[in-house]
């Protein structure tokens, strides 16, 4: 179970939030669509490589602490594997391989030349000093140095990690190799091979995916309203992207609480406030509401962008939004998914909705190969087009097979993986 947020609903605890189980469930549900290529589904059940490493690190008081680190390379059928590194207390192999598998699917949905991977360390980074995190990160990288690389497996930031940590990983890998290799990780600072627009990419991507779906659902964005759960890097740029297109953002939340404004927030001003005060609380004209009621507001668009399992069996039926974009991975549980489907809601699955991050990571990797960097405009317009192309492909599967977007995205991904698996053949 991955219950790490204290406000998680007790009802959701009876649901299985094990991400690997969720992935296997998805494969089993999909079996019926893949009689001819069940071999590929079998491949997806077996992560290519799972590494566990011991990470001893010197603490500031002189003692040595041992952490457990992971890196799972789920598939490399379509190219080197790609996926984030999370530092989270309680991280385990099932969570890492579930996330790695989701990356395989996400990259294939987006038609990126990547397989999927994920890694991390079982640690609460808030309990460590910055030098301790640096030493732990460098040792972890060093243990994985033979397994990662720009042409093998490319990590990126995730929960509990950031661009500084990516800089340390890049530096440690480069020192080990004896030459600078910027492309070994993405999500680096712009000063050292990072890409413009990477920080806002996941959030903007959510907005772009909503634009595409709203058009197909005949929702006029300029008259639409939205609620955004989470005002971190993902939630805030989703809000900004929607706001810039004329959507009224009536509710947002962060770890300190949720706020509401009937006429919608001035998002740039709210961003400014959050940057200044570290919280959204105290923003002019905002009415405080409770966390849970944000999800059930009468809005057109809902973006849960905080954690897995935010929408679960107990609150799904109360949701009024027509479009729900999964900003956080697995934000909607399997049971909630069924309920929302029955209620006629349109769910933009995580594979599609939050793929902006990995897509701009892809651009960063490409730029690192060339040492030639793109402009912000180039990044944004490429990303929007990229997401619209993916939506087009997913919608054509949806229509052809008469399935929902999540199933369509999965079918599309598996078909693509299947094609490359068959073309490559079995070695030796």
């Amino acid at each position: 179970m991955n219950q790490h947020e204290p406000q998680a609903q007790s009802e959701s605890q009876v649901e299985d939030l094990n991400l690997w189980h969720a992935f296997i469930d998805q494969i089993e549900t999909s079996q019926q669509y893949f009689r001819a290529s069940s071999e590929t589904l079998e491949y997806l059940r077996h992560p290519k490589r799972m590494t566990t490493v011991s990470v001893p690190a010197r603490m500031d008081d002189g003692s040595v602490r041992f952490f457990t680190g992971y890196r799972v390379q789920h598939s490399i059928s379509r190219g080197p594997s790609k996926g984030g590194i999370r530092y989270r207390a309680g991280l385990n192999l099932d969570e890492v391989r579930g996330l790695a598998a989701a990356m395989t699917i996400k990259c294939a949905v987006m038609n990126l030349p990547f397989g999927g991977a994920k890694g991390g360390i079982d640690v609460d980074p808030k309990t460590l000093s910055k030098p301790e995190i640096e030493r732990m990160t460098r040792r972890y990288t060093s243990e994985l140095v033979d397994l990662i690389g720009p042409d093998k497996d490319i990590p990126a930031p995730d929960t509990g990690t950031n661009e500084q940590i990516m800089a340390w990983i890049m530096d440690t890998y480069s020192q080990n190799k004896g030459s600078t290799v910027t492309g070994v990780v993405t999500g680096k600072p712009v000063a050292m091979g990072g890409s413009i627009g990477r920080v806002e990419a996941a959030g903007r991507g959510i907005a772009y995916s909503i634009f595409g779906v709203a058009k197909r659902e005949n929702i006029n964005l300029e008259k639409a309203s939205a609620a955004i759960q989470g005002f971190g890097m993902v939630g805030r740029y989703a809000a900004l992207g929607l706001y810039e297109r004329g959507v009224r953002i009536v509710a947002v939340s962060d770890s300190s609480g949720a706020i509401y404004a009937h006429d919608g927030f001035d998002i740039p001003a709210l961003l400014e406030h959050k940057n200044q005060h570290g919280t959204i609380m105290g923003f002019n004209g905002a009415k405080r509401i409770d966390h849970e009621s944000l999800l059930t507001l009468p809005v057109d668009i809902l973006v849960p962008a905080v954690r897995e399992g935010a929408i679960h069996a107990a609150n799904a039926a109360k949701i009024e939004a027509q479009i729900i974009a999964e900003g956080a991975n697995h934000a909607i549980t399997r049971q909630a998914d069924t309920i929302l489907e029955r209620e006629g809601r349109v769910i933009i699955p995580d594979y599609l909705a939050n793929s902006g991050g990995v897509t701009v990571s892809y651009y960063e990797w490409v730029q690192d190969f060339n040492n030639l960097y793109w402009t912000e405009d180039e990044i944004r317009s490429n990303l929007e087009q990229h997401i619209q192309h993916a939506l087009d492909s997913v919608y054509s599967v949806k229509l052809e097979r008469n399935v929902n977007l999540r199933q369509a995205a999965f079918i599309l991904a598996v078909s693509r993986i299947n094609e490359s698996t068959n073309l490559r053949g079995l070695y030796p």
Partner: protein, 426 residues
């Protein structure tokens, strides 16, 4: 429920062999002095790799097998340890075996850490072609983390010199050059070493002989019982016999035989080429399976499976020295009984280290592509075993502990000394 921290990737309710190893480390920790600061190093494998091994079977279908390679420690040098194919292989088992390789390599002072690998597969169900494909794919998946200067596999349960030839070839093809030193236990024609076949048995003999000399026991004319007549058992039997000992009892899967005047193992081997059933051997009498443990001897050599000397038979075993040719043949409880009864147990991590020692010689020869004679190898093996035995025996006397505990003290001290000297990276 557990005294030990349970790694998230192991079965939470059953740590298996890994728990036995952790208990051994706990037992030795009080003897490590200041080095106990680093003891956590021994309790956490440096690197665990789990790989998917898909192969196309002869019928055209695709089968997926789970492969492991665990590098327990590399403080004293590259990882070293066998690769086994067995349907019951688990991560816990491979972890424990890799840790015991760390201990064994340090006990005999080889410049290695410890590693072990395996595939969860019943190799009897695969054709030779399928076995080759599986071996090559497995090697390819672990290609990044093995190498003559990183981690050097060797044969183990259900793998052999042919398996090693495939591994060497696959690794070499991946690297774009021939690297014979990536595995040991290869065929002689491909950079293998002479003397490897009998190496473990020879080491068992030297360990037994050294123990005997400490208690004033003559090997010439002594009586020996051997459980297992595979590679280790029959080599031990031949070498003890050639030195003048009497092999009075032999037990293998087909049965148990006895001859108070001694069985000639060379003759028995010749006989078994025609008839694999030992009980059909005319120059010995067949006895009941349990009777094996009652045969009066000076040397008892369990060289077959684990957990053979148990609380049930430990009380009436009539021998002076047990030399553990197999891995883990004595249960911890039986170990205590034997100690109380004054029977010396030369533990597996020392007694059967002859195999990895000649693997070490093979690796050394591969670096220079210059090969030694069998005589040279046997002499060097003898020297290493004698020195290792002496060091451990002296610690056992000095600290008044069993040879098993003494072996762990010597080995863990060496590993952690290296750990402390190298310091913590970065």
């Amino acid at each position: 429920m557990h005294q030990h921290e349970v790694p998230s990737y192991l079965n939470q309710d059953n740590l298996g062999p890994w728990e036995i190893y952790l208990e051994q480390v706990d037992r030795v920790t009080p003897y490590l002095g200041k080095l106990a600061y680093w003891v956590e190093t021994l309790k956490r494998p440096k690197r665990i790799l789990i790989v998917d091994v898909p192969i196309q079977l002869d019928d055209g279908s695709i089968a997926h097998f789970e492969g492991y390679r665990v590098q327990h420690n590399s403080s004293r040098g590259p990882g070293k340890g066998g690769v086994r194919y067995h349907q019951d292989v688990t991560l816990s088992e491979v972890m424990a075996l890799s840790a015991w390789m760390t201990v064994k390599n340090a006990a005999v002072n080889l410049p290695y850490g410890g590693a072990k690998g395996g595939i969860r597969v019943d190799p009897r169900k695969l054709s030779r072609g399928e076995l080759e494909k599986m071996t090559r794919r497995y090697t390819s998946e672990i290609n990044f983390i093995i190498g003559p200067d990183k981690d050097i596999p060797a044969p183990d349960v259900n793998t052999n010199d042919l398996t090693m030839a495939w591994m060497m070839d696959t690794y070499s093809m991946n690297q774009g050059r021939t690297a014979t030193g990536v595995v040991t236990g290869k065929p002689i024609a491909l950079g293998g070493s002479l003397g490897r076949r009998d190496a473990t048995g020879r080491g068992v003999f030297v360990a037994g002989r050294e123990a005997a000399s400490r208690i004033g026991l003559e090997v010439v004319g002594s009586r020996v019982a051997i459980q297992g007549f595979g590679n280790v058992g029959n080599a031990s039997a031949r070498i003890f016999h050639d030195f003048g000992a009497k092999i009075v009892a032999i037990q293998d899967v087909s049965g148990t035989i006895f001859n108070g005047d001694g069985i000639n193992p060379h003759d028995l081997l010749e006989f078994m080429k025609q008839n694999p059933d030992v009980t059909a051997y005319p120059k010995a009498t067949t006895i009941a399976k349990n009777e094996f443990w009652n045969v009066e001897t000076e040397f008892l050599i369990p060289a077959a499976l684990e957990k053979q000397i148990t609380l049930e038979n430990a009380g009436h075993i009539k021998t002076r020295i047990v030399v553990e040719g197999a891995n883990g043949p004595t249960t911890p409880a039986a170990d205590d009984v034997l100690r109380e009864r004054g029977i010396i147990v030369v533990p597996d991590v020392l007694a059967n280290a002859g195999g990895v020692t000649v693997s070490y010689f093979e690796w050394v020869q591969d670096f220079s592509s210059f090969f030694w004679t069998e005589d040279e190898i046997n002499k060097r093996l003898e020297k290493i075993m004698v020195e290792a035995f002496k060091g451990i025996w002296d610690v056992a006397q000095d600290k008044n502990v069993t040879m098993r505990t003494a072996t762990f003290i010597v080995a863990c001290t060496r590993v952690l000394e290296a750990r402390a000297l190298r310091g913590l990276y970065p």
